[in-house]
Symmetry: C2
Subunit: 309 residues, 2 copies
């Protein structure tokens, strides 16, 4: 069984639609760059930097295969006996760092693995990282994800949301990286082909644009000054700290020693550590840290955040 | 035996002199902040940010003690049986990120540990991280360090230099963080008190200013534009990547969960990951990566770098 090429086609197709949606409203053009290595695989990245709306946005799809599954693929799966077997892997990953500090950053990833002849699984996640969290934005994002997961028998918002919170947590800061989303891994149908999960994944990919892009368009023109830009630089330090210290995908990519700049595509184009970026507790910015703890975003009542200084 | 308070006095005294030297030529004043926790220890940080010459400079001294030495103190020392014994630790650490891209960043650290009743050792290092490496600057830095180490029977430039190169190496980039310096650890005199090493350490502290500051003053007024600033942002990504992924001191500090902002004092106030920061191989910037490999900086002939674009 090798369904990886077919499923990569679904990812490449979603990439096209996502990039088109991101391009709509961004005057600077995305640039595409591809790579191919015989016997290993191929990939395509669409990237824009220093755009009017998007300070950095990248959507990447790749399909790779190998004769010996590395530990990073199989560990955590509870099936270490699969290590060293032939594998195929395909995935879509994307990151958006908008320029306006009132527009949240966003990350999404869908991936499909096959190991040996029988075993396959999906993983994925979408999460939101606001600089100034608006409860209505967080609510829209989470409700859209929940609505997608609830439409599918194998969707499970109630366990995917806490899994996301657990994953995107910075122990040394005792903070979330953002306001979470959903995160799942090792999703399979034992003894079946992946077809039964394709509607869930296909619609998950189609959920990226409606879950996130309205929040960018809603905030892209909000006036801001140096204070908001400074706070954005400060919040982005958490993004860097998380990805370099904790993120398994980043660590795997760096250890594998492939294209470092692709692995670190998720990093922000401008960020800064500064004592002056540490805000007073009673300022709007000071309350954001408190706000950036796990909340029931999809619930009927969303948490509130006092937004006056 | 508890010599830690006395040795911390040497560090506090050196801090005063180093901060005075950094302040000389910097119009913005350093600010001091201290902390003290009964039964645990105390510390003092001098910091300036967004100065005319110094974009960020910090000099930190602390003295701490505890009833149970954590693994991070004893591991690598080859004496794991000392884990859990009472310990005292004191150290000076400092970082300078100049504003001008032609002036190199600098890091230095001297530390003293006592575990149990008998065991003590020093560790330390000084290293230089240029954005545009000038061979004469690297040569001055290394020759000054070598001259210090050569004056002392327990100084060992020839093994401390490769140790520094090994430590400040980024495997995923196959690059040095900078042009190295010296790095030593677990330096002790078996069966003796630490007195025999005090001249080495005292003069090492006194070497910080003459080894580094002339390079800042030499380059602080060199004109530069956006291209040089962009390349500085790009090189600083290596600093962030090294400290968050590999640096043992940073990892220990974050795991111990003390003051995160103090632990991350070394991070630059402005940095950015960008595809546009990847220079062509035949540009000055493109040749810097090649230059940033281990060289015999203290030797008679210094490596050359073509500095025309």
């Amino acid at each position: 069984m090798d369904r990886s090429a077919e499923i990569s086609g679904m990812f490449f197709s979603a990439q096209e639609e996502i990039v088109a949606a991101l391009q709509d409203g961004e005057s600077k053009r995305f640039a595409a760059s591809g790579w191919e290595r015989a016997g290993f695989g191929h990939g395509l990245t669409h990237l824009v930097e220093y755009g009017e709306v998007l300070e950095r946005a990248a959507v990447n799809v790749s399909l790779v295969r190998g004769d010996h599954a590395p530990p990073a693929i199989t560990e955590g799966h509870g099936r270490l006996d699969r290590e060293g077997l032939p594998f195929r892997a395909t995935g879509l990953s994307m990151i958006v760092h908008p320029r306006n500090p009132y527009a949240p950053s966003f990350h999404a990833n869908f991936r499909y693995f096959e190991v040996g002849d029988q075993e396959w699984w999906f993983g994925g996640g979408l999460d939101l990282t606001p600089v100034y969290p608006f409860p209505e934005d967080c609510g829209h994002f989470h409700r859209t994800l929940k609505s997608w997961a609830d439409r599918h028998p194998h969707g499970d918002y109630d366990s995917w949301k806490p899994a996301c919170n657990s994953y995107f947590y910075l122990p040394h800061r005792q903070e979330m990286r953002g306001v979470g989303g959903v995160f799942f891994d090792h999703l399979t149908l034992p003894g079946e082909a992946p077809d039964g999960l394709l509607p869930l994944i296909r619609e998950g990919l189609a959920t990226i644009v409606p879950a996130y892009l309205p929040l960018v368009h809603r905030r892209a023109a909000t006036p801001y000054g140096q204070r908001e830009r400074d706070w954005q630089m400060a919040r982005r330090t958490r993004y860097v700290e998380f990805n370099l210290i904790y993120d398994r995908g980043t660590q795997f990519g760096l250890q594998a020693g492939v294209n470092v700049d692709s692995v670190l595509m998720s990093m922000p184009p401008a960020v800064g550590w500064s004592i002056e970026h540490i805000p007073p507790a009673d300022s709007v910015e000071g309350r954001v840290a408190e706000f950036l703890r796990p909340h029931d975003w999809a619930g009927a009542t969303t948490p509130t955040l006092a937004t006056t200084a």
